[in-house]
C-alpha cells in the first residue's frame, strides 16, 4: 500500500510543480516526476512477495517470479519518455533563445 501511496504522491507533487512552475526546464522535469510516478505504480502492481526476478537462467522453471509484463511496459516507457522530454527541452532551448526568458508565464502571444 505504501508503494502505491508513493506513486500517488509523486504524481501530485509533479503536477503541482507543472502548475506553479516559473522556469520551463523545471516544468519539464516535473513532467518527468509525473512519469516516474506511473512507473512506480506499474512496478508496485507487479511485485510478488517472495518472487524471484523473471530470469530463468539459474532458477528452476517453477519458481514464482514477479510480474514481467509490467516490467516490459515500464522499461520501454522509460527510454521513450526520456526522448519526449528531449523534444520538450529542445522547445525550451529555442524558447529561451527567442524570448530571452524561460518563464512559462511569459508565453502570452496566443491569448484569446
Amino acid at each position: 500500500m505504501l508503494a502505491y501511496l508513493v506513486a500517488v504522491w509523486l504524481l501530485l507533487a509533479g503536477l503541482y510543480g507543472v502548475i506553479t512552475s516559473r522556469h520551463l526546464v523545471h516544468l519539464v522535469l516535473c513532467l518527468g516526476v509525473m512519469q516516474a510516478s506511473t512507473y512506480v505504480l506499474l512496478l508496485a502492481i507487479g511485485w510478488r512477495d517472495g518472487g524471484a526476478a523473471p530470469i530463468y537462467a539459474d532458477i528452476p522453471p517453477n519458481t514464482p517470479v514477479v510480474d514481467p509484463v509490467v516490467q516490459a511496459l515500464t522499461l520501454t516507457d522509460v527510454v521513450v519518455e526520456a526522448t519526449v522530454v528531449a523534444v520538450l527541452l529542445a522547445l525550451t532551448v529555442q524558447a529561451h533563445k527567442r524570448f530571452g526568458t524561460s518563464d512559462p508565464d511569459a508565453l502570452g502571444a496566443l491569448r484569446g
Binding site: 504524481l11 503536477l15 507543472v18 502548475i19 506553479t20 512552475s21 520551463l24 516544468l27 519539464v28 513532467l31 509525473m34 512519469q35 510516478s37 506511473t38 505504480l41 506499474l42 502492481i45 509484463v69 509490467v70 511496459l73 516507457d77 521513450v80 519526449v84 523534444v87 520538450l88 522547445l91 525550451t92 529555442q94 524558447a95 527567442r98 524570448f99 512559462p104 508565464d105 508565453l107 502570452g108 502571444a109 496566443l110 491569448r111 484569446g112
Partner: protein
C-alpha cells in the same frame, strides 16, 4: 491472414526509408510523391480491411499469439466496421494533407514527410487496435508526431509557443491515461480490452473503477479537446502548417472521442451498466458545455485558423453528446457526423491555407475583400460554412439528424435545440468570414488586440512568404480542398450509409459478442438495425440551423458587435482571458477537470 496490420506497417516502412535517405537524396517533390503514395497505399489497405470485415469484426493476433483458455496473451487488432471506417477516413485525410505538403511545406529534407507518414500510421493503428496498452502506445506516437509537426518551422514565435503548450498539456493527459491503465491492469490482470471488460464486470464498481474511468476518460478527453481540457487546441491548430492543421482538426481530436467510445463500451460498459443514466447525464452535459463554449469562442475570433480550431472544439462537444447517449443510434449518428464534419473541416482548413499561401495572412481584417480574385474558393468556403451548419445533403446534416433523433428517443428533448444554436453560431461565424473575405461586403472586422501576431508571424509556419501573388492558385492546393468538399457531399448522398452505420454501431455496442469473438473465437451473431434516414423533424432542425447561421452572419456583418450589451462583452472578454497561452493555467484546468469528472462519476456510482 488479414491486411489490416499492413495499413500501419507500410507507411511506417516508407517513413523510415525516407528518413534513411534524407541526408543523401533530399528532393522535395520526390519525397512528397513517395509519401503520398505510401498514404494512398495505407488508405487502400484500410478499405480492404473494411471490405474483409463484411460488417463483422475481424480479429488479427500479432505473432500468432492466440488466446489460451479465454486469456489473451498477445496483442490484437479487432477490426470492426466503425474502427475500419475511421481508419480509412484518417488515411484519406492523410493523402489530402500530404498532397498539400508538396506545395506548401518548404524544407530541405525528407523528415517532415517521414514524420507525417508515421503520424498517419499511428492514427490508423489507434483505430484498429483491441489492446488498451497498444492504444496508449499509438496515442503517444500520434501525440509526439503532432508536437514535432506543429513546431516544425520554429523560426516564428507563435508555433514555438503553440507547440510548447500543446506538448505540455497533452503529456499530462498521457500520464493520467497511463495511470488509469495501470490501475485497470492491477484490478483485472489484463491489457486486452475485451478481457478487461470481462474481468472488471466480475467485481463491483468501486473506487478503483470510478477513478480509473475518470483518469482514462480525462486523458482521452484532453486529446479530444473537451472543456476544460481544450485550451491547448486553438493555440496548436492555429499555428500548425496548413496540412498538419487539416489532420489535427479533421482527425486528431475526433480520435480522442473514438478512443473514449471504444474504451467506454468494451471495458466499462458491464461494470457501470447499473449507473448508465447518470453517466449519460454527465457525458451529455460535458458535451453541451464544450459545444457552447467552443461556439461562443469561435464567433469571437478574427484569426481564421483559431476560428476553425474553436469550431472543431464546438463540434467535438456535439459528437460527445452523440456518444454520451450511450446507445447504438447516438453512436451511429456521431460516427457519420464525425466523418462528414471532418471532411468539411479539412476542406475549410485547406481553403484557409490557400488564402495564407496567396496573401500571407489569415487575419479577417486584413483579408477583407481580397478573396474576390479567387472567387471559386469563396464558393467552396461558404458552402463549407453552411455544411457546418448542417446544410442538406452534406454529410454533417445526416449525422446531426441521427444524433437529434437519438437524443429525443433518450428523453433529452432540449438537446436538439442546443445543437441548432451551436451549429448556427459556428456556421454563421464562418459564413460571415466568407462574405467578408470573398465578397468584401459588410462591416469590416475589428483589429483584434488578442490575435496571435508577433514579428512577422503571418498565419502559419513553413509556408511560402513571397508577396508576389500568383496568377493561378496552385492545383495542389485547391485540388484537395475541392476533393474533400466533394467527398463531404458524397458522404451525405451515399445510399445505405445510414443502415450500414446503424449495423456497424450495433456491432460496436455488442460487447459480449465482441469478447466472445476475441477471446473464445465464437462467431458473431447477425445484427440488424432499425435506423432510418432523416425524418421531418430532422429537416426542420436543419432548416433552423441553416437559417440561424445566415441570421448570425448577417447580424455580424451589420455590426451587431458594436451594439452588444456591455455585460455580455465583458463576459466574453473574461472567457477569452482564460485562454491565456500559459501552460501553468492549462495544467491547472486539466487537473481540475479530472478531479471534477472523478467526483461526478463517484456521485453517479455511489
Amino acid at each position: 491472414m488479414s491486411v489490416a496490420p499492413l495499413a500501419v506497417l507500410v507507411p511506417v516502412l516508407a517513413a523510415t526509408l525516407l528518413a534513411a535517405t534524407s541526408p543523401f537524396v533530399a528532393r522535395r517533390r520526390l519525397a512528397g510523391v513517395v509519401a503520398v503514395l505510401a498514404a494512398l497505399a495505407s488508405a487502400v489497405l484500410c478499405a480492404a480491411a473494411l471490405a474483409e470485415a463484411h460488417g463483422d469484426t475481424l480479429v488479427v493476433w500479432f505473432g500468432g499469439w492466440e488466446p489460451r483458455a479465454g486469456v489473451a496473451v498477445g496483442i490484437d487488432f479487432a477490426v470492426d466496421p466503425i474502427g475500419a471506417a475511421m481508419a480509412l477516413f484518417v488515411a484519406v485525410l492523410g493523402v489530402a494533407a500530404l498532397v498539400m505538403c508538396i506545395e506548401v511545406i518548404q524544407v530541405e529534407d525528407n523528415l517532415f514527410d517521414a514524420i507525417a507518414l508515421v503520424f498517419i500510421a499511428a492514427m490508423v493503428g489507434y483505430c484498429l487496435t483491441g489492446d488498451l496498452f497498444n492504444l496508449f502506445v499509438f496515442f503517444e506516437l500520434m501525440s509526439v508526431c503532432a508536437y514535432v509537426l506543429v513546431g516544425y518551422e520554429i523560426r516564428k514565435r507563435a508555433p514555438l509557443e503553440g507547440s510548447l503548450t500543446f506538448a505540455i498539456t497533452n503529456s499530462i493527459g498521457s500520464i493520467l491515461l497511463l495511470c488509469g491503465i495501470a490501475l485497470l491492469y492491477g484490478r483485472t490482470g489484463a491489457l486486452n480490452l475485451a478481457q478487461m471488460g470481462r474481468a472488471l464486470a466480475e467485481g463491483p464498481a468501486d473506487g478503483l473503477v470510478v477513478v480509473s474511468y475518470a483518469l482514462v476518460a480525462g486523458g482521452l478527453l484532453v486529446k479530444a479537446a473537451a472543456v476544460p481540457f481544450h485550451f491547448w487546441t486553438a493555440d496548436a491548430y492555429a499555428v500548425a502548417p496548413t496540412p498538419v492543421g487539416l489532420l489535427l482538426g479533421g482527425a486528431f481530436s475526433e480520435l480522442g472521442l473514438f478512443g473514449l467510445a471504444r474504451v467506454q463500451w468494451t471495458v466499462f460498459h458491464d461494470v457501470l451498466a447499473p449507473h448508465e443514466a447518470e453517466l449519460r447525464a454527465i457525458l451529455v452535459g460535458l458535451g453541451v458545455l464544450t459545444a457552447i463554449v467552443g461556439a461562443v469562442m469561435c464567433a469571437a475570433q478574427h484569426h481564421l485558423k483559431r476560428m476553425l480550431a474553436f469550431a472543431t472544439i464546438s463540434h467535438v462537444g456535439l459528437f460527445l453528446v452523440g456518444i454520451g447517449l450511450l446507445d447504438a443510434a447516438g453512436l451511429a449518428g456521431a460516427a457519420i457526423w464525425i466523418v462528414g464534419d471532418g471532411l468539411v473541416k479539412a476542406a475549410l482548413f485547406a481553403s484557409v491555407g490557400l488564402l495564407n499561401d496567396r496573401f500571407a495572412t489569415v487575419e479577417e481584417a486584413e483579408l477583407h475583400g481580397r478573396g474576390r480574385e479567387i472567387g471559386g474558393i469563396g464558393v467552396l468556403f461558404c458552402a463549407g460554412a453552411l455544411a457546418v451548419a448542417s446544410l442538406p445533403p452534406f454529410g454533417p446534416f445526416l449525422g446531426k439528424t441521427l444524433v437529434e433523433d437519438a437524443a429525443l428517443t433518450a428523453g433529452y428533448a432540449w438537446v436538439p435545440a442546443v445543437m441548432v444554436v451551436v451549429s448556427a453560431l459556428t456556421g454563421g461565424a464562418l459564413l460571415r468570414v466568407g462574405v467578408r473575405v470573398f465578397l468584401g461586403r459588410g462591416v469590416p472586422a475589428p483589429e483584434d488586440p488578442h490575435s496571435a501576431r508577433a514579428e512577422g508571424d503571418r498565419g502559419g509556419a513553413g509556408e511560402r512568404e513571397d508577396e508576389a501573388s500568383l496568377a493561378t492558385v496552385p492545383a495542389l492546393l485547391w485540388g484537395p480542398a475541392v476533393a474533400l468538399m466533394a467527398a463531404a457531399l458524397a458522404w451525405g448522398l451515399v445510399p445505405g450509409v445510414v443502415a450500414a452505420a446503424g449495423r456497424a454501431a450495433e456491432r460496436f455496442v455488442d460487447v459480449h459478442s465482441y469478447a466472445g469473438l476475441v477471446l473464445d473465437g465464437r462467431p458473431l451473431p447477425a445484427v440488424s438495425s432499425t435506423l432510418h434516414g432523416p425524418g421531418l423533424t430532422g429537416w426542420l432542425y436543419a432548416a433552423a440551423s441553416v437559417a440561424g447561421a445566415v441570421v448570425v452572419a448577417l447580424a455580424a456583418l451589420a455590426g451587431v458587435r458594436d451594439r452588444a450589451p456591455r455585460a455580455g462583452l465583458r463576459a466574453l472578454e473574461t472567457l477569452r482571458g482564460l485562454h491565456s497561452g500559459r501552460p501553468g493555467d492549462y495544467a491547472a484546468f486539466t487537473a481540475a477537470g479530472v478531479a471534477v469528472l472523478g467526483g461526478l462519476v463517484a456521485l453517479a456510482v455511489g
